[in-house]
Symmetry: C2
DNA sequence: TATTGTTATACTCTATAACTATA
DNA sequence: TATAGTTATAGAGTATAACAATA
């Protein structure tokens, strides 16, 4: 158990507040949401991992299998994913992104990035450079 | 309208992902949640702004007044806030934090900071120093 | 008549439990 | 008998609409 200094405590408090606030602003950029956060996140997981079964999706998204059944049904009804029977195991189903689902993900990201890009441009060049070095560290924190 | 360079686009994409992921991890630290996020956020708003009326709280938390009625009722039932009639305007009600509510906020922050502090300690001293300079920039972004 | 807050009711999201089909 | 997925049902959270009390 490492010793935590006062500077560490101050840093974690400051970092926690600013990260949570910035995340809230980013989330607010999709106020015209046509999909729930879980639905959108499920699409992103499919984009990243390719075809998955409902049970695997449920595990990824940390929801129970019956909830994922409904999420996938809603996404399928809107044409963002396809459900197909497994080739050899009749119990299983495989879910994959459609081109329409891919397009939705692109559009969603574009809109959020547009907001953030404008705000970044209001910073000084030095601050932007600082964030460029800090972003990978934040990413490592998020994965740890 | 400023011109956005490719470097800006790359930065905003990287920053958005890492901030959202880190925020998700921080949020997950309160899995034993006894209060909903809106209830907790309402307590924090009261701590920051002092006594407020239900309508003002609803505006702050971006929920409709009837929803705030229920949030305040739940918080009052658990002893985290007090509801009192306004001194001169009989239509109004004022809501304020109790000492118990204040203690809950302190405990909630302590637990989240503990998780983050440990992760920060796994970084190099240089990376921690980097984050110390980056945190205020992130905070400014969140407020802009 | 306007404003503040509440009650009544409905919808969305997710959960647990029970069920069906296949291995 | 075990596994994958679905259906049935319930609970939490929030919304809109209607109402009550006061200004």
């Amino acid at each position: 158990m490492p010793t935590l200094t006062a500077a560490d405590a101050a840093l974690s408090g400051a970092l926690r507040l600013s990260v949570m606030r910035l995340a809230r602003r980013l989330r607010a950029q999709r106020s015209d949401a046509t999909l729930s956060l879980t639905q959108l996140s499920t699409l992103a997981t499919l984009e990243r991992h390719g075809t998955l079964r409902p049970g695997e999706l449920a595990a990824h998204e940390k929801v129970q299998p019956p909830s994922m059944t409904r999420v996938v049904a809603a996404l399928e009804a809107q044409g963002f994913v396809e459900r197909r029977p497994h080739l050899t195991d009749g119990r299983q189903v495989v879910v994959s992104l459609t081109e329409r689902g891919r397009a939705l993900l692109r559009e969603d990201r574009r809109r959020r990035d547009a907001w953030l890009s404008l705000r970044l441009h209001e910073l000084s060049a030095a601050d932007r450079a600082l964030l460029r070095t800090a972003a990978p560290v934040l990413e490592r924190l998020a994965r740890s």
